[in-house]
Symmetry: C2
Subunit: 317 residues, 2 copies
């Protein structure tokens, strides 16, 4: 049975990614469905306990400016997850054409509102609004996205803080599957503020998961293939569908696929299919562990956000 057959089966969703393990025998899917559900169940139980003991229910406020398709999907999913877990959620929709001052006012109100524990502003924002200004305005104690400079600085210094959701979700996955990290060489492709940079710092810190030797690669990196071939762990976070091919991955590597691009697909009702940065079907057989797309890191991002919101509530009250 060739990989072509498998690919087709996966695409047609006849095979669950969690079933693939037995086909390839020697590798394990890092299954975002299982891990995120486990994390969310824990938060759900803890939230029920808060309520039953008369404590405050966690409350996440999400701000969506405009109506970008992907942003709508993300925000809707966050709100839905809040409901499932038992959080209160508030969705504030603002027109794409609003002035910056109105968004500033909105954030200030949410900062001042004692009932709101976590604030997230869905990015990207329209051009007339400075993302930097808005993010810096969110009170660090409510910064559940972990994008505020104070959160980032504390993360770098190894102090307790809200970790950015996607890197935090990756750590949760590695921990759930007890992937060894100490002394491993991790290669991170991409140096964005949201994923590449923070995951490189977190994998390098003196903790578990962590204590990796970490190499950060980007568009100016030479010999990327040679560097990737040395990696025990590869985090692909550059946003180029299918970029990481099997010739770039050594046997028994751990591959984390952060990419999630919409690729046109006429056979789909939506008109697109989601693709990761990893050429999954060819890379997977070489791996000890790999995350699928969808069903991998994306789901963990939401689980991490929910964890941050829960912690924001408990720390504040």
């Amino acid at each position: 049975m060739g990989t072509g057959y498998l690919l087709k089966q996966i695409r047609q969703q006849k095979i669950q990614t969690s079933d693939i393990n037995c086909y390839f025998c020697r590798m394990q899917i890092l299954d975002g469905k299982i891990v995120s559900q486990t994390v969310k169940n824990t938060i759900k139980e803890k939230t029920a306990l808060l309520k039953s003991t008369g404590k405050k229910t966690p409350h996440l406020a999400a701000v969506l400016v405009g109506s970008d398709g992907a942003s709508e999907t993300y925000v809707a999913s966050k709100v839905k997850n809040c409901e499932e877990i038992g959080f209160i959620s508030t969705l504030i929709r603002l027109d794409a054409s609003i002035e910056e001052s109105l968004l500033i006012e909105t954030i200030q109100k949410l900062n001042a509102d004692d009932d709101v524990d976590g604030i997230l502003v869905q990015l990207p924002l329209p051009g007339q609004i400075s993302e930097e200004k808005i993010i810096n305005l969110i009170h660090p104690n409510k910064d559940v996205d972990g994008f505020h400079p104070v959160s980032v600085g504390k993360m770098v210094q190894g102090l307790p803080t809200f970790l950015p959701a996607t890197p935090y979700g990756i750590l949760m996955m590695l921990e759930y599957y007890q992937v060894e990290t100490k002394g491993k060489h991790a290669v991170v492709i991409g140096r964005s503020n949201i994923v590449g940079r923070p995951i490189s710092i977190l994998l390098n810190r003196n903790a578990y998961p962590g204590n990796c030797t970490v190499t950060v690669c980007h568009s100016h990196t030479r010999n990327l293939k040679d560097i990737c071939l040395q990696a025990d762990i590869i985090v692909a976070a550059l946003g180029k569908p299918g970029f990481l091919t099997s010739d770039m991955v050594k046997e028994k590597a751990v591959v984390i696929d952060v990419g999630i691009s919409r690729v046109p697909d006429a056979t789909k009702k939506s008109g697109f299919t989601l693709k990761g940065d990893v050429d999954f079907i060819h890379v997977a057989p070489k791996c000890s562990f790999i995350t699928p797309v969808p069903g991998g890191v994306g789901l963990m991002t939401i689980a991490a956000l929910m964890t941050n919101t829960y912690n924001a509530c408990v720390l504040k009250n």
Copy 2:
């Protein structure tokens, strides 16, 4: 003429490090004396201009708790540099046994004092005092050491901020000698909050100096020698005298030595000699550029601190 002879000449200070270039022919000393003096002269001129136009004179307040030998030396040097440049400086000495609350009060007064532009608290602090608490208390606009989480977070995000002095000084050196960095593989040995972590982030950012592929190594790193042999640029910041030996360095590498350890030396009046993390005399002949110890990165740290203090004054007033 063997390296033994050279070593002796350098130790006896009969050869200036800036003269060494002609002996080895193919490598260039990154001379901290020259670069720091150039930077300080610029600041001195700009400060004179501030004064002559009736603007505020930069004012650095240094707090020294206890009387550790190295700390005394560092603080004395900072105060002396302020005088040379034309800054106002205030040295506040506190007893090693003071309560934390007294230091907190001191910082709060300096934060509130409009005449003070930059505050530095010499580290380490005695055990009864939380360094984290004290650093976080310094107002970010006066954080000329760049250790506050806000400063660190902004640095990571590539926003304008006070860069930590030693990494900033290294960037100044690379820039002065126009060392190419884009696309180079930089290996940083050490992951401290003060040097290793920030220099790894700065060398990786999308700017000059920067755009390196960066690998951060530490005590858990395996095959350190193999990794170093791939490096175009090595930053040794682990604090082990003579650790980086010539068999770990490839031809034409750039070597930055951040180490500055006091090694017992009976022939010296002080009883010690300063040694870097690099086995200089054997590594230098392989390098395209190398920093000496002393006379390298250490001097740059002070030049960077003075630059931050000048900027703090100008930004505030």
